[in-house]
């Protein structure tokens, strides 16, 4: 075993230690807990890189570390660690972003004199711990456990400024909506455990393998055909994914989650909470790969969300809101990629998105600091001159988000679209998904450059924008690191170039094809084509790439031209009713509030009335009847001794007569 793997559990345990330290001693530390957090996540990053290097050399690792509940004659529930190319890649990404967010927090939180910093750093540490442990979880139960912890941490962090009403409401919504998804996920976990007797991801005893074997063997579970049962379980788990990765219809919590500190948003959107959902699908892709129905549903949920969220991103005024909708949209792409069997494309986009979205959020954070905590883009303008580092890095991130060559987002988004097209050419229904995703490319370009133009170009529209506050090194350093990554990360898997020039430069694909055989890309491809029955057309990658690029550039150019002027107006408003509809987020929030307050709360009150009136009424009724009856009967006791004596005498006579009659004395 490679030495790196011995130390791998520490990747998650370092941030746990920083959580404990910040919680217990944060008050007394000079940076209120930032330093332990930075050191811990930095150490995690180093170990992660070490692990990745070991994986690069072809080693993989799967070990059970801890028995949670030991069953003597039944299944034991265990925690283990799984280090393969996918988890190693994700560990590096998560620990890197977590580290950068900690550094950025020095400038964003400490320098701004926030109170409650020990709590902030403790929660951040716990957040990183949960996500890292989730990433290297070797079974679905452990994944669920840390998935939930990630949810709780984001609850705590979104509500960091709990003294205001809005964060308190947003945190509740975030947890409740994701909990609704997790309900289905938990049924899925229990179902998988009960069906296969294991929740392990890899190996011949892993549940994806057992599912494949069950389908091949034509088994039935609870009277349901194995393939349908697997589809059902897969869709149940997908419920959790839709909740966490903010896919339609459980996406509503994510824009509200902007109430948390911007650093937290960066972490949630790029590397932790939201990424967890898509990562989970990638992690157990072998399970989905055997079910064409589940794959198709993933693809359509993803494609629809990509387009749907992009339309809402177009009309937002708050810089963080635009980014929030872009996140929803981008995760839609990843889901689409997974749904059409483009495992590498989706993981590639997951990685790139982590870099450029963290960059954009931290950039937005920098802008917000500079703007004295104003977030409305219409109050900004012309910040390019004052914040050069922020501007150039933000621009790199925006180009990546919009999908402009050669920035990272282009390569991965193009690959997702390409995979969808290949499948769609053979199975026409997927063309619809492809078309939705393609339309979203245009909108992405448009809203991204609308945001860039409104924020940085034109002229300052308020005093705050004219005299921005400077930002320190702790803000600039993370931006630069991420800016470089957002620019170059795409070079590791340039599919159009590789195919056209016939070069062996698909490094990520090679990377993901190594490791355990059951979780290798090649195995997944075989499963998707042979078990799920997907077939792919043979189309060259160049033309689709050009189509996507043209749309992205067109959108970006339109956005830039419309808004990068001295006095920008809002032309989208001319759409009238459609504008209002989109602006109100398609009344999704109203619907969910109605569901919670209009329906559920009313039902609860009805149940309460029923309980009080019918059930407790019966109980009290019985007692009232007894009391009434008692008070009637006691009227016999008139308090006059003679009456008692008469009653006694009469009773005795009556009794005697009774005996006499029935005893046959007469």
């Amino acid at each position: 075993m490679d030495a790196a793997f011995t130390y791998a559990p520490l990747i998650a345990l370092f941030p746990l230690a920083s959580f404990v330290i910040a919680l217990a001693f944060g008050k007394y530390l000079p940076t209120r807990g930032a330093l332990p957090g930075i050191v811990a996540t930095g150490a995690s990053l180093l170990v992660s890189v070490w692990v990745a290097a070991a994986v690069w050399q072809g080693h993989v690792h799967h070990e059970v570390l801890y028995t949670w509940i030991a069953g003597e004659d039944v299944v034991s529930l265990e925690f283990g660690i799984l280090l393969d190319p996918l988890s190693a890649l994700m560990l590096v990404v998560v620990s890197l972003i977590s580290f950068l967010v900690h550094v950025f927090s020095l400038g964003y939180m400490n320098a701004e004199g926030e109170t409650g910093l020990p709590r902030y750093y403790a929660e951040l540490g716990l957040f990183s711990f949960s996500m890292l442990a989730f990433v290297y979880a070797d079974n679905l139960l452990m994944a669920f456990i840390f998935f939930e912890l990630v949810g709780v941490c984001s609850y705590l962090l979104i509500g960091f400024w709990f003294r205001d009403g809005a964060p308190a409401s947003a945190q509740k919504k975030a947890f409740l909506v994701t909990r609704f998804g997790d309900y289905f996920f938990l049924i899925g976990v229990v179902g998988i455990l009960a069906t296969f007797g294991t929740t392990t991801f890899v190996g011949s005893e892993g549940f994806p393998q057992l599912a494949e074997a069950a389908i091949a063997g034509g088994e039935t579970f609870w009277g349901i055909d194995a393939s349908q049962w697997v589809t059902l379980l897969g869709l149940l788990v997908l419920g959790g994914v839709i909740g966490k990765s903010a896919q339609f219809p459980l996406h509503t919590w994510l824009p509200d989650a902007m109430e948390g500190p911007t650093t937290v948003s960066a972490l949630i959107h790029a590397a932790t909470m939201v990424a967890a959902g898509v990562y989970l699908v990638a992690r157990m892709f072998g399970f989905y790969a055997v079910s064409p129905t589940a794959l198709a549903i993933i693809a359509f949920v993803g494609a629809f969300t990509a387009l749907f969220a992009a339309t809402m991103g177009v009309v937002k005024d708050d810089i963080k809101q635009v980014l929030a909708y872009s996140t929803i949209s981008q995760y839609g792409y990843m889901m689409l990629g997974l749904g059409v069997g483009g495992y590498v494309a989706a993981v590639f986009h997951l990685m790139n998105h982590a870099f450029f979205k963290a960059l954009l959020f931290l950039g937005a954070g920098s802008v917000i600091v500079a703007m004295h905590h104003k977030q409305n883009m219409w109050e900004m303008g012309g910040l390019k001159e004052h914040l050069p580092v922020t501007y150039w890095t933000f621009l790199a991130g925006s180009l990546a988000l919009a999908g402009i060559v050669p920035f990272s987002g282009f390569w991965s988004k193009d690959e997702v679209l390409f995979e969808a097209l290949l499948l769609g050419a053979e199975a026409p229904i997927f063309i619809a998904a492809y078309a939705m995703a393609l339309a979203a490319v245009f909108l992405t370009g448009f809203y991204t450059f609308r945001m860039v133009a409104l924020t940085f170009h034109g002229e300052a529209r308020t005093d705050d924008a004219a005299t921005p506050h400077g930002v320190g090194w702790s803000i600039k350093f993370p931006l630069v690191v991420l800016g470089v990554l957002a620019t170059v990360a795409g070079l590791i898997n340039m599919k159009p170039v590789a195919v056209v020039a016939d070069l062996d430069i698909l490094y990520l694909e090679t990377w993901l094809d190594a490791g355990f055989e059951t979780t290798a890309y090649g195995t997944y491809t075989t499963l998707v084509t042979e078990v799920a029955g997907f077939s792919y057309a043979d189309i060259g990658p160049l033309l689709p790439a050009i189509i996507a690029l043209v749309l992205a550039v067109a959108g970006a150019a339109l956005g830039y031209r419309t808004y990068a002027v001295a006095e920008p107006t809002e032309p989208v408003k001319r759409l009238g009713g459609a504008y209002d509809l989109v602006r109100a987020n398609y009344y999704q929030d109203e619907f969910q509030v109605w569901l919670a307050e209009g329906f559920t709360a009313r039902l609860a009150r009805a149940a309460d009335s029923f309980d009080q009136i019918v059930i407790d009424g019966t109980v009290n009724g019985i007692s009232t009847v007894s009391l009434r009856a008692g008070s009637r009967v006691r009227r016999l006791q008139r308090g006059i001794v003679t009456n008692y004596a008469a009653l006694m005498a009469a009773s005795i006579v009556a009794l005697l007569l009774l005996f006499a009659v029935y005893g046959g004395w007469f």
Partner: protein, 101 residues
């Protein structure tokens, strides 16, 4: 020749009825108490009579017990009557009705 059994029983029944009549009709607590004593003694006559009839002494023993009991009862009864008298200035049993309900 001793009197027949029926005679004792009739005497006892008659005495009991006299006592019962007293209890049911009188309002004076003293008369009440006396009537109760009559009923007890009716029972005593029965006990002694049966004792004689069966030829064992258990009945007579019980009669002695009842006499002792009656003495104790009279003591308590008189006590109660004294209290009644102190409270209401007479010994009418129907007046002491505050403890009902």
């Amino acid at each position: 020749m001793a009197a027949p059994m029926e005679a004792y029983l009739l005497l006892s029944a008659a005495l009991f009825c006299v006592g019962l009549f007293g209890v049911l009709t009188r309002r004076n607590a003293l008369m009440f108490l006396i009537s109760v004593e009559l009923m007890l003694n009716a029972a005593n006559i029965n006990l002694v009579a049966f004792s004689l009839y069966h030829g064992n002494l258990t009945g007579q023993t019980f009669a002695l017990f009842v006499i002792a009991l009656a003495a104790a009862e009279v003591a308590i009864g008189l006590g109660i009557i004294m209290v009644l008298n102190r409270q209401y200035d007479d010994v009418d049993v129907t007046r002491a009705a505050t403890m009902r309900w």
